[in-house]
């Protein structure tokens, strides 16, 4: 009997101590982590959207933690302890079958895109393996006043009627768009107007040419890769956009203009409500000034200006830097 007390009782006592030291105490201590500057609690609608996110297990495929590693820079700055002050349950996740969503509200701010993508991801990203969340939407004959029907491409639209988001979809969208990393105090330089050459995002590490020789060192494969990573979700791999939703780059006057300044400024600062060939596009395009280095922006612009039958004048990183210096 004594031996049983030792094995069962003794080991359980040891384990209880370890559970307190390794589980409970760090839990208590870290639960008191103060919110970082600019880290706000969610609004009721955003919180409701977070519940939809949890109910449908979004975090089994999408992380919400950016590691201090080069390959994570595309998702934002490294996550800081203060970022999680209002995040219970935590949604850091363990797998990236899909991309990290820590900063998705900045990286993809277009409501239209988010709705189309939720309804059926393959409508905008043909290779996606994400489930269609079409059951968060409903088909009605006519969108009620104040509600915009989801601008689905023909192949994905219902044969009759229009698709409108349910309350759940609206909440989820509101939550996704709320996912924005506030700048850290010591992060100001990085997100400021000028991107120092030494702190270029990882994608530009491979760029041997550097800022001055963007045109000479133009690598078509890398250019395409940058375009796919940053632009194709809306403008599509073939540059034709989505009719009436996201403007085409193929044959776009701005892209073919000999004066590239509008093109450069659009990529740097984003755009909304532009008129391309008589169609007004309401969806916002995010700014890339804080995301991409000048050389990468030049590479992307040159890719767009030489693809799909376009023949705009090429640009250099110096031109991009000059436009960047002018400010918004």
């Amino acid at each position: 009997m004594n031996k049983l007390v030792l094995i069962a009782g003794g080991s359980t006592l040891v384990y209880a101590v370890l559970a307190i030291v390794m589980g409970v105490l760090p839990g208590i201590e870290l639960s008191n982590t103060a919110a970082g500057p600019g880290v706000e609690p969610l609004t009721p609608l955003q919180a409701e959207g977070r519940d939809v996110y949890v109910a449908n297990g979004c975090s089994y495929c999408h992380t919400q933690q950016v590691r201090p590693l080069a390959q994570d820079k595309i998702f934002g700055r490294p996550s800081a302890p203060g970022d999680f002050a209002h995040q219970t349950p935590e949604l850091l996740g363990s797998q990236r079958t899909g991309p990290d969503l820590t900063n998705i509200g900045v990286r993809q701010p277009s409501e239209t895109w988010q709705y189309i993508h939720l309804y059926n991801p393959r409508a905008v990203v043909p290779q996606s393996v994400m489930p269609a969340f079409d059951w968060l939407f409903e088909v009605v004959d006519q969108a009620p006043p104040g509600v915009t029907a989801v601008a689905l491409p023909k192949a994905y639209a219902p044969t009759r009627g229009v698709v409108v988001p349910t309350r759940e979809a609206e909440a989820l969208l509101s939550y996704l768009l709320s996912l924005k990393q506030p700048a850290l105090p010591d992060d100001a330089n990085r997100n400021g107007a000028a991107t120092p050459a030494t702190d270029a995002p990882v994608a530009s590490v491979a760029s041997a040419g550097g800022a001055t020789s963007a045109v000479d060192g133009y690598d078509p494969a890398r250019a395409q890769s940058l375009f796919i990573a940053n632009c194709a979700a809306c403008h599509q791999a073939g540059g034709e956009g989505l009719p009436g939703v996201f403007p085409p780059l193929k044959g776009n006057p701005v892209v073919n203009d000999a004066d590239a300044s509008v093109h450069i400024r659009t990529v740097l600062h984003g755009l909304q409500g532009t008129n391309v060939s008589g169609i007004v596009y309401a969806s916002p395009m995010p700014p890339f000034a804080s995301v991409l280095a000048d050389a990468d922006i030049a590479t992307i612009i040159n890719f767009e200006r030489t693809s799909w039958g376009n023949h705009g004048a090429l640009v250099t990183a110096a031109q991009v830097a000059a436009e960047r210096a002018k400010g918004k």
């Binding site: 760090p26 208590i28 870290l30 297990g57 495929c61 390959q71 219970t88 935590e90 949604l91 850091l92």
Partner: protein
């Protein structure tokens, strides 16, 4: 007056009644666990298929994010927990040469385990997910049902071992009694909400998700090894002392490694580094335990190579050794940079939960259930089950290890994210092929369990050595 007379005549009858009750308990736990294995891996196969055909099986109830936790939780708390508890109770009674402390408690435990698993499955499918916190997704009232099942089981196990008629406590019971008691603590730590907010909850998640695996499935599966191996080989375990040493080192090192699930996260760096150091220390109990099993088998494997229970256990031991060692390497920052967040981790979790724990359970059931019920499965069924499960899991783990590595390298090379999705496609197909084979083998296993319990016995020769008696005690 006639009382003394009747007790003496009733003694053998009572003994037989106890034995029958023990067999009925083991049969019910095994059958119930088998149902959960079929269900959980059926869902897993559908999930694998969905990665290749994401529009197949639409609607909220069949969406990937609801089915994935159903797959993992049903595997953990339906299949593995129920099967391991059934075996642990049986081993406790047999190795202590005593009836179960309470047959009734064993049945209550079985009902509670099933109640929790059914309720948890339904809740997750309806979207009641307690925060996507891995392996504790069931809403908390349901996790309390599971905790109640654990407490009932712990009570029963301790009570049974306390009543032992043998002098020593057999090694298996160290592991199973310890495992159940520790898991009660884990379950309480995980379910209490007051101290888990934001980053604090992240650290508890790291602690919980590794302890739920390593302080529950590992000790119970090792308990099976320590009992079934000596029985199958008709020789004592190579070193009792080594088993005790592995017990205490496992107990002290394992609880510290949880934060290695959150390397490079905003958790304190010292917590992550401590976890890495103790992940290396885990090699001590892992190598010690594996060596003990392999040395026990040494020299006998060839003469008893036809024994399928032994084959299952052999694969289980190798799965323990390779899977745990792989876990240590994965904890290094340099390798995490490549493998974290990729499918490599999914391969690792299947190597351990399948290659180690599930094969250990199968070895245990095939070794002990026929011994208890007197019914053997069919020879063909054994062969089909073993080879399909082995080949299937090989394909599965290798496909995800290669695919996961490519995924991680794609990210490091700065390719567009979608490229890593495209590059996984062919490996998802191979995972589906491996998974389908594994699932087929489970159907055969169910057939085998049926023949060992309620159905007509099969034609397999007895797997036990001709020497009768409790070698293990």
């Amino acid at each position: 007056m006639s009382r003394t007379l009747s007790t003496t005549t009733q003694q053998p009858q009572q003994k037989e009644k106890d034995a029958r009750a023990l067999v009925a308990m083991l049969a019910a736990y095994s059958a119930s666990a088998t149902f959960w294995l079929l269900f959980a891996t059926g869902v897993g196969t559908l999930l694998a298929f969905k990665l290749g055909a994401p529009d197949f099986g639409g609607g909220a109830w069949l969406t990937f994010g609801r089915l994935r936790p159903i797959h993992t939780n049903a595997t953990f708390y339906g299949w593995a927990s129920i099967a391991l508890v059934g075996l642990a109770l049986y081993v406790a009674a047999r190795s202590s040469r005593t009836p179960l402390f309470s047959v009734k408690l064993a049945w209550i435990g079985l009902v509670l385990f099933n109640l929790a698993a059914v309720a948890g499955t339904v809740a997750l499918d309806l979207g009641y997910n307690d925060g996507n916190l891995e392996y504790r997704e069931w809403p908390w009232p349901i996790r309390l049902i599971f905790l109640a099942a654990l407490i009932v089981t712990a009570w029963n196990l301790v009570g049974t071992v306390a009543r032992r008629t043998t002098g020593d406590i057999y090694l298996s019971n160290w592991y199973t009694v310890g495992g159940v008691l520790w898991t009660c603590i884990i379950a309480v730590v995980a379910v209490l909400p007051w101290y888990q907010h934001g980053l604090g909850q992240v650290s508890v998640s790291g602690f919980y998700m590794h302890n739920a695996v390593g302080m529950w499935f590992t000790p119970l599966a090792l308990g099976i090894f320590y009992y079934a191996l000596p029985k199958l080989l008709s020789r004592p375990i190579y070193s009792y002392a080594l088993g005790v040493f592995a017990f205490w080192t496992n107990l002290v090192f394992y609880p510290i490694i949880g934060a290695h699930h959150f390397l490079f996260s905003p958790l304190p760096w010292w917590l992550q580094t401590t976890a890495i150091v103790f992940s290396v220390a885990m090699l001590v109990p892992v190598l010690g335990g594996s060596a003990n099993f392999l040395l026990t088998m040494g020299g006998r494997v060839r003469t008893r190579a036809h024994s399928y229970p032994l084959r299952f256990i052999f694969v289980g031991v190798i799965g323990y050794l390779v899977g745990s060692t792989q876990g240590t390497f994965e904890a290094f920052r340099s390798l995490q940079e490549v493998w974290h967040f990729t499918n490599f981790t999914v391969g690792h979790s299947h190597l351990t939960m399948y290659g180690f724990v599930t094969f250990a359970i199968w070895g245990g059931i095939y070794a002990l259930l026929p011994l208890a019920s007197g019914k053997e499965p069919g020879q063909l069924g054994l062969a089909l089950h073993f080879w399909m499960a082995l080949v299937g899991s090989f394909i599965y783990v290798i496909a995800l290890s290669i695919g996961g590595t490519l995924q991680g390298l794609d990210w490091i090379h700065g390719l567009p994210f979608i490229q890593s999705v495209v590059d996984m496609q062919s490996y998802y197909v191979w995972r589906g092929v491996g998974g389908a084979l594994m699932f087929l083998s489970h159907i055969v296993f169910a057939w085998n369990v049926w023949r060992m319990t309620y159905g007509r016995a099969g034609d397999a020769p007895s797997q036990m050595p001709s020497l009768p008696g409790e070698v293990a005690t």
